[in-house]
Amino acid sequence: MSQVRVLVGTRKGAFVLTSDGRRDRWDVSGPHFGGWEIYHVKASPADPDRLYASQSSGWFGQVIQRSSDGGKTWEAVGNKFVYDGVTGTHQWYDGTPHPWEFARVWHLEPSPADPDTVYAGVEDAALFRSTDGGQTWQELPGLRTHPSGSSWQPGAGGMCLHTILLDPSHPGRIFIAISAAGVFRTDDAGLTWRPANRGLKSDGIPDPAAEVGHCVHRIAMHRSRPGVLFMQKHWDVMRSDDAGESWREVSGNLPTDFGFPIDVHAHEPETIYVVPIKSDSEHYPPDGKLRVYRSRTGGNEWQALTSGLPQRDCYVNVLRDAMAVDSLDPGGVYFGTTGGQVYASADGGDHWAPIVQHLPAVVSVEAQTLP
C-alpha cells in the first residue's frame, strides 16, 4: 500500500509525519534539530529517501542537513554560501544602498533527475546550486546581478528568494520569486534572467505596474502544464497562461485576496488552493474562521472548505511554504499553521483533520507519496 511522508519545518525543529495511503493514522518523528529554525525540508524526486533540510539560528547561522534514509538519520553538509564576484548593493528599507548579506536558506529545490543536485533560494535574494549532494554551493549570479538588482528592496520578512520552480518540460527554464522584487525567469539554466511580472498591480509601490518591486508571496505550477502558473501575491491571486509573460487576476469571490501559500492539486491542473488572510497588518483569517479556498476552474470561482477546520476564535497564519499536496488518488492536501497545527485532507480538501496540534510555529510543509 502507498505511504505518505509529510516533512514539516518549524521554528524549533523538523518533524516527519508518516501514514499509509488511508492517511488517517500518523506516526510523528521529531523534533529533529530541536531548537533550530527549520525553514524547509524537501525530498529528491529522483531518490525519495534523499532529503535536504535548511537549519538556521540567529546565534549559529546556517546549516544544511542531508538524509539518505528518509529522515531517520542526518548529516550536516556544506554551508558555505558565498556570493559570486562583486557583491553589490540592493536598497535597504530606508532606500539607501545596502550590501548583499547572506542570512539563511529559505527554500531547497532538489532536481527531479539527480539526487545530488539541489537549488537553494537564500536571503539576501540569490539562487545557489549544489551538484554534490549539498557539500559545496555555487551561486548562479546572473539573477542577483540583473540590472534591476540594485533597486530590489526587502519585504517585511527579509529579501528572500522563497520559490523555485523547475520547468519539467523546458530544460533550463526556472522560475523564481523574491519578496519584494517579484518573479524572474531564466531559459538558459540560470545564466540570464528577466522579470516576469507583467500584469501585476501593487498599490504599495510608486508605480503599481512596475516591472519589478512586487511582493510575490508564492507561485505554483502543475508539472503536466508548466506554462500555467498561479500566484498568491501580497494582495491578489493571479494566473499566467504564458509561462509568466503576463498575469491576470483570478481572486474572484475570495473573502480577501491577501495570503501566503498557493498550491495545485496533483491530478487536476485547474484545481488550486489558497488560505485567505484578513490583511497584511492582521496576519490571521477573517472572522476567526480558518478556511481553505479551492477553485476547480483555475481561479475566479472559489469554494470555502471548512469541514474539520476551526470556525471560531482561530487567529493563526499559514506561511508561504506551508502547504503541499500528495499524489495519491484521491489527492491529499496538507498545510501547517503558526499555531503549530498540521492539517490533512485525504479527499482534495472536502474534509480536514489535524495530524498534530501542538508543534512550534510551522514554517514549511512538503508531502511525499511513497510506493
Binding site: 549559529f60 546556517q62 550536516a76
Partner: protein, 98 residues
C-alpha cells in the same frame, strides 16, 4: 591539550558530549583553537565565525579564566591556564532573544 566547551546546540551538531579536547600547534590563540576545532569538526564551520572573513558571529562569545576574550584580536595568546589545559576555552551562545 586545549579544552573547549561548546554551547549545547553546537555539541549536538558536532555529536560530542562534554568538552572537546584539541591539540594545538604552537602558542594557542583563539584563531588557532578555532582552526583546530573546525578541522576536527567540519560541521562547525560557519557556526562560530564567518567562513570567509573569520569574523566572530554576533551572538557568540569567547570566555576563559573569568574573562571575556571576545573582543581580543584573534591572534592574542590565550591565558596560560588555557594553554596548559587547567582551564577551558568557552564558546558561549550569548543570552539574547528573551
Amino acid at each position: 591539550m586545549i579544552r573547549v566547551v561548546l554551547p549545547a546546540h553546537l555539541r549536538t551538531l558536532a555529536r560530542v558530549d562534554g568538552e572537546v579536547k584539541l591539540h594545538v600547534e604552537g602558542l594557542p590563540t583563539p584563531r588557532a583553537v578555532l582552526d583546530a576545532l573546525e578541522a576536527g569538526y567540519p560541521m562547525l564551520r560557519g557556526t562560530i565565525r564567518d567562513q570567509v572573513s573569520h569574523q566572530r558571529r554576533a551572538f557568540v562569545r569567547f570566555f576563559a579564566c573569568g574573562q571575556d576574550l571576545s573582543h581580543e584580536p584573534p591572534d592574542t595568546p590565550l591565558p596560560a591556564a588555557v594553554a596548559t589545559g587547567a582551564e577551558p576555552f568557552l564558546v558561549v551562545g550569548a543570552m539574547a532573544g528573551g
